[in-house]
């Protein structure tokens, strides 16, 4: 029945729209770059739209969309044949930080610190710490065990504290490369 189909489409679009700001924030914090993130979100919308028959109404639309975006992110990274490298990070963090966009200087520092994490740790801490997912949901989205998510979050948290100097000098001072990145990032 077309009437039934239409109302389903309607709520699909409405739910997608509702999840979009959160999805986009995930993309931006995952990629560290607004324009890359927005391309990723666009690809995700197209994929989700094409696959909407596979979506079971009543299940978690947000988790479904995040999964699509994450898969898209890694498949694009594989296509480019590289992890977004640190050198790239230095260059792009200087290019893509919009000081007017983030309330404080601290947030820019935080963004740079987040960019330095390996992407598996970054996504774990974002999903649970900011996107509002439970450990179990984050594990589902990342296709790994709950314990893996927890340990990635731990490592991410330690690394962030270390980079931002929140907990002072630890056993794990920044390695030579990341301190070079920090120096470079702060040398402006």
């Amino acid at each position: 029945m077309t009437v039934g189909d239409k109302s389903t489409d309607h709520s699909f679009k409405r739910d997608l729209l509702a999840a979009l700001p959160n999805l986009r924030a995930f993309a931006v914090s995952l990629t560290g770059r607004h324009h890359v993130a927005d391309d990723l979100v666009q690809d995700t919308i197209m994929k989700a739209w094409a696959k909407q028959d596979h979506f079971e109404p009543g299940t978690n639309m947000k988790a479904w969309l995040f999964t699509i975006l994450r898969n898209e992110f890694y498949s694009q990274m594989r296509k480019r044949g590289r992890e977004v490298s640190d050198t790239d990070g230095i260059f792009t963090s200087q290019l893509s930080t919009h000081p007017q966009q983030y309330g404080s200087l601290d947030l820019q520092d935080f963004k740079r610190a987040l960019d330095q994490l390996p992407s598996d740790q970054r996504e774990a801490i974002i999903l649970v710490g900011a996107s509002g997912f439970a450990y179990e949901e984050a594990a589902e989205i990342c296709g790994c065990a709950v314990g893996t998510i927890k340990s990635r979050i731990n490592r991410a948290r330690n690394k962030l504290q270390e980079i931002l100097g929140v907990s002072g000098e630890g056993d794990y001072g920044p390695d030579a490369h990341s301190s070079a990145v920090i120096k470079k990032a702060f040398a402006i």
């Binding site: 729209l17 700001p21 924030a25 947030l107 710490g129 509002g132 179990e136 709950v146």
Partner: protein
Amino acid sequence: MTEHSKKAPATNGLPGMAAFHPGVSAQLREYYQSVQEEGIPDRFLQLLEQLDVAERQASESTRIKDNAR
């Protein structure tokens, strides 16, 4: 499942964050929030509109074909 019963604390959507250093977790949320507050760029609203229109036209033409049978 104990994992599950622990899963939905009253702290509203941020399970596990209690263990975080407040500095790092607060900054993460603040950063994330600042991006969320940028709102939805027009390009996505336009894209959804286009997808919607394309789909309606497609189902419209399917219906015409079906009726013609």
